[in-house]
Symmetry: C2
Subunit: 320 residues, 2 copies
């Protein structure tokens, strides 16, 4: 079977592709494991994977012709990861709408034209929540995003739900926690610091933390996020109930605890490279996100969080 991963040259897309190639199979349309014969990675940049099963397609995800070409007539599963991140969607309102809303709708329309409804995993975010939040946030809590990224993700969830209900796709909208530790460079996500305050000090560089030490963050490691995306893909539709949106398990850690963990693992000199410099724009977004979600349905699907943040830091150091 063929799989399309949008945002396939990105950090999560590449890891997801490698994980699927390692596994060799995912759930087919009937729920039974099916051999993956082809993965199309669609992104703005070429995806650096050498594997005969992988095709890298470079183009604009908001271009209908590109979406059609990426999907082809035989796609059985889609992982829709392509997105403009939170800080950027807030700074450029039109770009956020174009990529996070218009492109998602294009993709859903193209899926609807396939001869057989594909499974589709849409990556949503805790940014769909906002306002005064209880801890944990119940699975029945209102979507009340307080930034444009969260608004666009919430709209994507609603579209995935309705297209699934109509039988156009078999969709799943997965609200991933903030992912830490991402390798590479900072990005324009408001949560970028949650990787930077670990990654940069370990690389001998200074990192600034834009939120106060007491700020709780709902986190997942890259490997756990990838595992949960695949579990959400493979779960039977019936496990989702009346809505296809799913909170996935994470860990609640404060920024201060993260740096304390770094000190425990890598020493005081490394941890001292973190500068606490509150940034109102970033803190204004991040401090409105929930710090813990109810994840009853995801746990029933077998999803588990990492045991603690130290495991996450050690996995990063081990190059996972």
């Amino acid at each position: 079977m063929k799989i399309l991963i949008t945002g396939g040259a990105g950090f999560l897309g590449l890891r997801l592709a490698r994980r699927i190639l390692d596994r060799g199979a995912v759930a087919g349309p009937d729920g039974q494991p099916r051999e993956v014969t082809r993965i199309v990675l669609a992104d703005m940049a070429n995806a650096p994977i050498e594997d005969p099963r992988v095709t890298s397609l470079v183009g604009d995800i908001a271009d209908p012709a590109f979406v059609d070409a990426a999907l082809g007539g035989d796609c059985a599963s889609v992982f829709h990861l392509a997105a403009v991140v939170s800080g950027q969607a807030e700074a450029d309102f039109d770009l956020g709408l174009r990529v996070n809303l218009d492109a998602t709708r294009l993709l859903l329309e193209a899926c609807r034209r396939l001869p057989r409804p594909p499974r589709l995993v849409f990556t949503s975010s805790v940014a769909v929540f906002g306002g005064a939040l209880p801890t944990p946030v119940p699975e029945t809590w209102i979507l009340n995003p307080q930034n444009s990224y969260g608004t666009q993700k919430a709209i994507g969830e609603l579209l995935v739900n309705d297209h699934s209900r109509k039988g156009f796709i078999d969709g799943r909208a997965v609200r991933l926690p903030t992912i830490s530790v991402r390798p590479g460079r900072p990005n324009k996500a408001a949560s970028s610091f949650a990787s930077g305050i670990i990654r940069e000090p370990l690389a001998g560089e200074i990192a600034t933390c834009p939120v106060p030490p007491h700020t709780p963050i709902w986190l997942s490691s890259p490997r756990t996020a990838i595992a949960h995306l695949l579990q959400a893909h493979d779960a039977p539709a019936g496990a989702f109930g009346t809505g296809r949106s799913l909170n996935t398990p994470g860990l609640t850690v404060t920024a201060g605890e993260m740096v304390a963990t770094l000190e425990r693992v890598a020493g005081r000199e490394v941890a001292s490279r973190v500068r606490w410099e509150p940034d109102e724009a970033v803190a204004g977004i991040v401090m409105r996100w929930p710090d813990r979600l109810e994840t009853v349905r995801a746990e029933a699907m077998g999803m588990r969080p990492e045991p603690d943040f130290e495991s996450i830091v050690r996995a990063y150091l081990a190059g996972e």
Copy 2:
């Protein structure tokens, strides 16, 4: 000041226009009462109102040029009532998206280009709720629509919220109850029967009720719905809290109680013209809607429901 009412030739649009003309003033951008000098009624059909302050514009609300012409450069307030109703949006998925989603977005974009952000009242619906629902549905309950109309209205709410947060409009999304008694003919709304089972028997005609007698319905009279739209328009933005979506007060009445009320008001012969003929398609939509909503914020803005269904029937008979 100038007001645009989309769907202005419809039942609610016309009544709203007449009510505004009677009042003569609504809250201006600064919250102070401002004289209404012009009302533009934009719809697919001509609006039958003779008043020098009223202009009727006929066109397609999903056409950008029509939206721009209707809004002009000087609109201070918009009531966005134009919509494809629930049964029709379910039957024609693409039409529902075009009118309920695309046209709403067009209108918001056009508002954003105005020199001053207009107040905008968007009519949403209880159809944004679905799945297992508590009674009453709390103001913090998840949007989990189980039909395409509800999905499109929920997306409209999210867009109105985000455009308000960004300062592009001063928006308010009002979740009106089912309106009964509507005059005129049945429409394609799944809730059309909630007027038909009163209106048709009173006109000497047979009416069929597609849901069982025990089905509870969350109702508002036309006059109360209009009053609540104006109260939502005039309320200060701060009264909405972190989200611009608002449940407005209604009455919970079962279909059986509605017909019993009709019998009490108009006699047994009239009430006997109601035939109970369950329709799965309609019941499948209506019986998933909530039968009572928490309306704390709306009540704080001074909104009140009708005292009972008998008052609604008597008001209809009095030609209100």
